[in-house]
Each structure stands twice: as structure tokens, then as C-alpha cells.
Symmetry: C2
Subunit: 387 residues, 2 copies
């Protein structure tokens, strides 16, 4: 494995820690052997000549996630040719950044363009699946921001049309696919670093911030807090456990502290179950102003022979940067700075578009995540006794 | 508040962090203003003259927690006068450390001793409640290691006899009452540091280690993993939320990876609910050898205006020591070294014994924790689909 690795022997060289305002360091307390590791640097970009360029368009720009979706495609050699959105101001901002994108007058103009192979979208959540279905029916592949489906009826129709058309309906589960630390964690777990996975526990707190659009507050449009933020969490559970079926044991969602927005949900959680592992997650919109990230997400994965913790956005009052991975096995504690872990989703999706393969994410997996999320949403009960 | 406090302005003085093998530190990523705080030192011991000395005895020495129970009483001015246990080797080890303890020939000899006001016990878990009931019926107070009750029938009887005799039945919920960081967290939360509590999430991993006695593996004797390890977790939930009623939404427990010990439970989790807050916890016996603590416990408390995380045993690959508290509010991120936080349980319990008050922990609260734990245990289902 091409990885720079070195021992940070805290017992004999505690200069870094000595600077903390603490009493003498007792290495027996903070872990046995502690090893610091830096994940391998980004792999060289795949040669452009290895794959014919994929022409793609954007439809629906309501969430700014669209920009990372576009960058992922451009950075892997795809060609952006057109854009359509109902909102002129969103189109104007988009074409300022991407002047190469022709502005289509209608969605249909893009669907009718035989040269376009892929449509990417971050439209209003409950409009995404209907769009994806039209895209597949027009013979194109679809890559969409999460939540990629907001109702079980939409999911059934998306599954039906996908099976019929054999197009790709890819939901960008960014909490994993765009997170170097989480990507590295998946690789390590699948390589057996903590034995067999028994439990995953994730928290996905979020900051509301300012200037949220109207649809952000409307449950039908944003799809419910479990369906929205919970999507990443169910993806973690199924990805780490490699589960091929799952069940929701219990789920809760509701509005605990935003009485002025009665149709909003600010809290949700759920217990999950797979063949050989259990899971839990909590998502919320309560991240306070005193931390400079949209949310101090955490993910703990417990195995038969170790556990790991991902701190993908911030190491609270700790190390700089935002790609932290801690792994404990039977022998040692490792800190892994994971920011340079390669993210294979983009190149693999483009390969899949060209080769009609499923290397980025199996289609059945994509829909299974959505199904479990929507089942949680459907059976969610109030989070507290009195509300 | 008598507390040393100082600003660790990482933006301008990043010497400590610069020593980590990291790229340049971006303070905007690791938190806004970061403040390091050291909790107030231990309060002076209460004057012995303020309270008549309390004479106490130990009955049941099966768990080594008995030693911290004894130390807590001795350190606050109580007088150890006698000991009884069925196992001569446990008595021998005990009297070697505490030669002042007269060895009673029978439990009854201690119960009949009018001078003894308090019995402390860490006997085999399922024998604790019957002992506590006999102790109260003999007119004495009782302080017991957790789990303090292992069946709902025992709980009902303990409640009945306690109400009848007006004796104290105190269960030492050590995860809070013996943990400086957790104690400090409770104080801060009750003072409003994170607004109204909405959610608590705890994990209580444990290391099995070597030389566990027979009863450790027998469900009837240890009381089930939720009833045993889960006790701390339910205590956290009720203590932080100040809930006076609670419900179990869902619970799971089972044996995931110890097939040679079929009557053991190595995993449990549960979702809890109170009037205005939700909770979740996981407990397990999977702590691997690579971390030098019995378990990397965590507790996250989310409020309407902030959140905190307690790392009471280890700051994984981080700061030395074992009493770490991280608190984020609307303005800043604080790291609090909490090891010197005073622990009021011991002196308050002795006060209560003398004054017939409930300052250490209300009796109704003690039983409510046990009730919720035992309800979780009673309704627990298998953790995974196939097992």
C-alpha cells in the first residue's frame, strides 16, 4: 500500500501534547501504541483517452450541491453542454460560472438532445424522482443530489422505469462518496480492519443558517428530515455492513423547536437492522453558531475486533482540517489524516455510463438506501412524549 | 464561579497544534473561538464535626466496584466496622486492605448490629435487591453498585419496602456520580449552557478482559446487558433531561459474537423518550485491546442552543487524562478539562443518612432509572435480522 506512515510515539516524544495545559501525560490513559497515518494521495486522474468524453447537462439548480456534482463530472473529463432551470436567477449564477453551458429554453429541449448522455440535478427534492424518470425515459442516465426520491410511490416508479430502460439512476450519497475520511473508513472496514461489523452509529447535525428558500421549510417539498438528512446515514449503515437487506426497527421525526415553521422537521432518528448488524442514527437542524462547520458529523463503526470513528467535518477543539479517522483494533490506536483519500465515485460513474456497468454503486443498492430511508420516514413517530 | 479559565487562541498561537503532522491550520475549520477551561478544584472536605460519623459495613464483594464505594464513604468521614461475604478469598483480600473491618460470621450478624447505619454492597447482581430489602427491613440504609435491581419483581418489592421503612436504597450510578467530566456536564446543562435538552446519545463499550467470574456469563445473575451496562445510560438520559417520566421506544439485546458463552449478552441498545427529549444508547462488550481503557465511553447531549460531548475515559489519540468535556454553544467551542470537578454524591449520601434527606439522589429518581432499564430489558428484541 502506497502510504506514508510513521509512529508518533507519544510516550517518548510528547512535545505536541505537552503544550496543552494539562498535567503530565500518562500514555496508558490515552491509548496504547498510538500511530499516526496519512492516507495515500489522490490517484492520478484517469487518462482522458481511456474513456470517450461524456456529454452532460444540468436540470434543476435549487440546491448548491449542484456545483460539487458538476465539478465531479468536469474533473473527470465529462463535458457540460447545457443547463435548464425554472429560476432565471439560478441559471444566471450557473452560467456565470460555467459559460460553456448553453441555456435551454425548456427541460424538453435537453431531453430531446441526443448528444446528451447524462443529466445531473439538484432540483427541489420532491421534483427529482419525476425528473429522473423522464430522463431515463428519454434514454439518458441520471445523477441526482440526495434525497434522490421523496416518496415510496416515486421509488416504485423509478425502479420500474429503470428496469425497463436500463438507464442509471444514481443518487450522490455525498456523506460517503464525497467524504475522504468516510471513503477511507469504508475501505479499511471492507479490508477487515475491525473484523465483522456489528453496529454503526451516526449523527448528522446541521446548521440552518440564513436565506433558506421556501421549499426548505415544506415537508412535502424537502421530503422529511429522515428522507433528507437520514439518507446519508442509511447509506453508511448499508455500505459499511455490506447488507443486502435491511429493516427499520423504530423511527422518530418531528419539529421540536421551530414553532414558527410548523411544516418543518428539525429532528429525526432511527434504529436499523440488517442480517448481521444493528444501526442507529440521529439527524437534526440544531448545530449552534459556535462551531465553524455546517455540522459536527460523527460516525462510529463497531466490529468484532475493533472500532473506528469518523469525524468528517471537524475535530472539535482538536486537530485542524476536516477528514479525521480514528481506528482502534486489538493492537493499537491509529489516527488517520484522510483528506487525500481518492474519491472514486466520479470516474466510476462516467465509466459506467460508457461501459453500461455498475462500478460506482450497484443500482439495487442505490434504491435499497432510498427504500429504507422512506420506510423510516413512513413509520416515524413523534420524538418526545408530550409533543 | 471559582474557576481558572483562559483563552487558547488557536488562530494566533498554534504552537501545540503545529506539532501535529498536519498542513497549515485553518481555524475556521476546527471551531470558531476555542476556549480551554479547567474546572474548579475539589472542594475542601466537609468538616467531620459537621456530621456525626456514620458506621457502615460491606456485604457482598463480588465486583471490585466495592472498593470505590468503600473509598467514597471513608473519604467523607464514615467508619467501616464490619464485612461479610460468602467467599473467604474475597473477604481475605478485603480485610488485607481494610484491617479495621471486623469479619462477621453471617450476614445476619451485621443486620443485627444496631450500631451499623449503612450497608454497602457489590454482590452478585441478582442477589443485590433481596439483600437491600433485608437491609432496609433491618432498619439500615443501603448503597449498592449498579445494577442495583435485576428484575421488575425485585424492583416492586424494593419500592414497597422502601416506602414502608423510609430507609435509603441508593444505587451508585457511577458513570455519572463517579465521573468528574459527566458531573461537570450535568452542572453546565442544568445551568442552561446548551438551552433545553432535546437528545442524549451515549455509547458504553466495555472490555471483557480476563478472569471474569462464572456469574459474569449468566444472564440471570448479571441481569442482562441492558440492565447492567445500560443502567448508566438511562441515568444519563434522566439526569440531563430532568425527566420525571420516561418510556422505552425500542430495545435490543443479544449475543452477537460469543457463541461459547450462550447465556451471555454482548450487545444492547435502546431508544428512550421523555416529556421533552429523546434518547438513544448502545452498550457492548467489544472494546478491543488497542485502547488502554475499559471502554471509550461517549455521551453527546444536544440542546436547543448548543451541544456537548463527554469523553470520560479517554480522548482517543488526543489529550492525556480521562475527564474531557467539549461544549459548543451559539458563540464558541470550549474544551473543559474536568478532572478536578467535585463529586458530591458521597458527602451528600452521608448527610442524607444523618438528616433523612434526599440530596444525593431522590429516591423516586433512583427507582425510575431502574424501572426504565428493566422495561428496556423486558421488551428487548434480537439486535439483527438473522440471529
Amino acid at each position: 500500500m502506497n502510504r506514508r506512515s510513521f509512529i508518533s510515539s507519544l510516550g517518548t516524544s510528547s512535545a505536541a501534547l505537552a503544550a496543552w495545559p494539562m498535567p503530565a501525560f500518562d500514555p496508558a490513559r490515552a491509548g496504547r501504541a498510538i500511530r499516526t497515518e496519512i492516507a495515500a494521495g489522490r490517484q492520478p486522474q484517469p487518462k482522458m483517452s481511456a474513456r470517450p468524453p461524456v456529454a452532460f447537462a444540468a436540470i434543476g439548480l435549487n440546491h448548491s450541491h449542484i456545483y460539487s456534482q458538476i465539478e465531479t463530472m468536469l474533473g473527470n473529463g465529462a463535458t457540460l453542454t447545457a443547463v435548464y432551470a425554472k429560476e432565471p436567477e439560478l441559471v444566471a449564477a450557473f452560467t456565470k460560472r460555467y459559460p460553456q453551458a448553453r441555456v435551454a429554453r425548456t427541460e424538453q429541449e435537453i431531453l430531446d438532445d441526443k448528444a446528451i448522455q447524462l443529466v445531473v440535478s439538484a432540483g427541489i427534492p420532491n421534483e427529482r424522482a419525476p425528473l429522473g424518470i423522464r430522463v431515463m425515459q428519454a434514454g439518458k442516465d441520471f445523477m441526482v443530489d440526495k434525497p434522490g426520491v421523496t416518496t415510496l410511490a416515486h421509488l416504485a416508479e423509478a425502479r420500474r422505469v429503470q428496469a425497463q430502460t436500463k438507464r442509471i439512476y444514481s443518487i450522490l450519497y455525498g456523506g460517503r462518496l464525497e467524504s475522504p475520511a468516510t471513503q477511507r473508513a469504508v475501505e479499511l472496514v471492507h479490508a477487515g480492519a475491525i473484523g465483522q461489523v456489528l453496529h454503526t452509529m451516526g449523527s448528522g447535525p446541521h446548521k440552518i443558517g440564513a436565506d433558506r428558500p421556501d421549499w426548505f421549510w415544506k415537508r412535502e417539498q424537502f421530503g422529511g428530515v429522515l428522507g433528507d438528512l437520514g439518507t446519508h446515514q442509511v447509506d453508511y449503515f448499508l455500505a459499511f455492513t455490506k447488507a443486502t437487506r435491511g429493516a427499520v426497527v423504530a423511527a422518530r421525526s418531528g419539529n421540536l423547536h421551530h414553532p414558527d415553521k410548523p411544516d418543518f422537521e428539525d429532528f429525526g432518528d432511527a434504529m436499523l437492522q440488517a442480517e448481521t448488524a444493528a444501526g442507529y442514527f440521529r439527524v437534526d437542524w440544531f448545530t449552534p453558531g459556535g462551531v465553524a462547520t455546517f455540522g459536527d458529523s460523527r460516525l462510529t463503526v463497531m466490529g468484532t475486533d475493533g472500532y473506528l470513528e469518523v469525524r468528517p467535518n471537524v475535530d472539535l477543539a482538536g486537530r485542524p482540517g476536516g477528514s479525521h479517522l480514528f481506528l482502534v483494533d486489538q493492537k493499537e490506536t491509529r489516527y488517520i489524516e484522510a483528506k487525500d483519500t481518492p474519491l472514486p465515485y466520479g470516474p466510476r460513474l462516467l465509466d459506467d455510463i460508457v461501459n453500461r456497468t455498475e462500478t460506482a454503486m450497484p443500482q439495487a443498492y442505490t434504491f435499497l438506501v432510498a427504500q429504507l430511508v422512506l420506510e423510516a420516514q413512513a413509520q416515524a413517530r413523534p420524538p418526545v412524549l408530550s409533543k
